[in-house]
Subunit: 405 residues, 2 copies
Amino acid sequence: MSLIVQKYGGTSVGSVSRIKAVAEKVAAKHRAGDKIVVAVSAMSGETNRLIELAKEIHEQPNLREMDVLVSTGEQVTIALLCMALEAEGVSARSYTGGQVRILTDNAHGKARIKEIDGHRIHGDLDAGRVVVVAGFQGIDDEGNITTLGRGGSDTTAVALAAALKADECQIYTDVDGVYTTDPRVVAEARRLDKITFEEMLEMASQGSKILQIRSVEFAGKYNVPLRVMSSFEDGPGTLISLEDNDQMEEPVVSGIAFNRDEAKLTIRGIPDQPGVAYKVLGAISEANIEIDVIVQNVAKDNSATITFTVHRNDLKQASELLEQIASDLGALEVTSDNRIVKISIVGVGMRSHAGVAAKMFEALAAEGINIQLITTSEIKITVVIEERYLELAVRSLHSAFGLEQ
Amino acid sequence: MSLIVQKYGGTSVGSVSRIKAVAEKVAAKHRAGDKIVVAVSAMSGETNRLIELAKEIHEQPNLREMDVLVSTGEQVTIALLCMALEAEGVSARSYTGGQVRILTDNAHGKARIKEIDGHRIHGDLDAGRVVVVAGFQGIDDEGNITTLGRGGSDTTAVALAAALKADECQIYTDVDGVYTTDPRVVAEARRLDKITFEEMLEMASQGSKILQIRSVEFAGKYNVPLRVMSSFEDGPGTLISLEDNDQMEEPVVSGIAFNRDEAKLTIRGIPDQPGVAYKVLGAISEANIEIDVIVQNVAKDNSATITFTVHRNDLKQASELLEQIASDLGALEVTSDNRIVKISIVGVGMRSHAGVAAKMFEALAAEGINIQLITTSEIKITVVIEERYLELAVRSLHSAFGLEQ
């Protein structure tokens, strides 16, 4: 008998018939003898409907009240799912974030979980009930309703699994697992049976949108085995867990992630002196523009060049800021390019294997693809290339590292 | 500076523009220096939408989960109203029934309020905030969400006013006060400036649908002055309060209520012996049919006749039951009539005035209207007459008692 926390997102509970299908799935697990806790999102579209109502009333609605408003979305789902479970003959009980005391800080709209009281849930499980908890929401020290920010239901599920010491946290989505790369780009892309937290984090931060980064971090921190599964078809999914040291032969590269949403900015001919990187990048950050890859190097004349990437939507604003900075610093020129993509190969196996970078660059060179930027971390190598080479690059790397098996 | 509790029903908050209008009204009162607590219903249509969702999932949804579901309706309204108040420059804070600890019993769907903790609300009021509370909902000893049943927002408002020792509880509706009778029947019907709790109860139970009976009982019990006002136009409304003993001259009759929804059943020729009324009426009650007026008298041959009224929708079932009872008791006959109406004159002044009944019967006789049944209470006289005489009877009584002033 296992204790399983399952999470179903908005699409999985997007209609009455979908909710009934989820109830069937949960009931089957429950009848098989497992203890089940379910975390759910709002029915798809509901959160946006509520936000629209708020925007009609106030351009910048009060954040505390926004949380009171949008948290009703999940509250509707928990009630309906419990009713559907009872229709399946399964005893069930729903809880809002506040009722089960998912204690958070008071950062409305992006609160962080501090503590969960598992006492009441264990009582229900011991009484043979399925427990259904509203995802994405909690309560602060003073009893105010908080939300964890969009997609926060994944985090709720992982936090519940950690607090309840669950055997596994299963995240049901519209894909049947984590793939070596996007199957729409590489037909041979293969579902991974398992992947480590670290690898998943790198994949997620590189544009793989299956899981919220925060929930993966959380799962890694509390060592909660996380399984990504499909709501719509049966299958083992992908298990995300700690590195398995017993495994003799680890694949060098687990997956290839890419991101088309970035643009590149370069400032050339700036005096190479302490504080220059801060002057350039600090001003961009202060404008709330997120900076991703950063590369700096120094030319023969001792002037520095800094290149970095931002989200394409931020390119115009970032360019204007950078022109201003360039003129302040007496820099030579500012250039920008929004026809670039970022590609990363990810794998814990890189740690113990030399020559992975060389193999990556070789594969790209063989296709005549020029590399504009390179950054590396312990388990990831990222390159920025021209956008038009994206598919070619991903396919050649997928094949070079034998990911199709 | 007064402490006022206001209640706005579903129609008054039925759209974004209506909510903004309510916010304007509340903001004006707040700026005038009053401390304001607002209780609100769900936006009109919302509760029904949620109930429909539940019915699609389960014919008889779990009552606990039903309360979790429908209580989201008011939660949406409190958040939107607070946002609208902030847009008016008024600081506001919303609370669900659970957050403000409206403690109820655990009768889901028809819970009764046991206690309200006014501490937090007083804190907000002292800090200059308007407090917006979700009507119709509470929380039981174990932290489960409960609802007070439909229309329960009036009760929430009165209970809040009692707990906070408010100066007045204002119920905003789609009418501008309590009238001497239905203005659609008597053009001369006049808005009453004031009426007693007792009179309002009698009016309400006789078909005047302005206020929930429970909320009037509650207001009377805790002596909370209640004012019925229009959401859509300005005006003093009608104040419902304790009898004003200082008033020298009290009108004998305050209003005329009537009800077209009833039907009359008569069972004749039953042996006049102890327990017979119970045998007849007990069986009807057991079938969950509500009985209203009951009249019994004894004929010369010592056989009894019992006449009573039920809701027209229950007439068929009640008739069938009564036929069975008649055959069991060896009664003479059962007759029924659904073309009747009930008319009541109501007024605390009746207590100290003789001849009110005689005046009523005289007025009806002058119009040639036959009275089928009569019942009386201390402050009310009710007659049942043929339905076709309804308008004529109400108009002649309205005039006979000088209600047009």
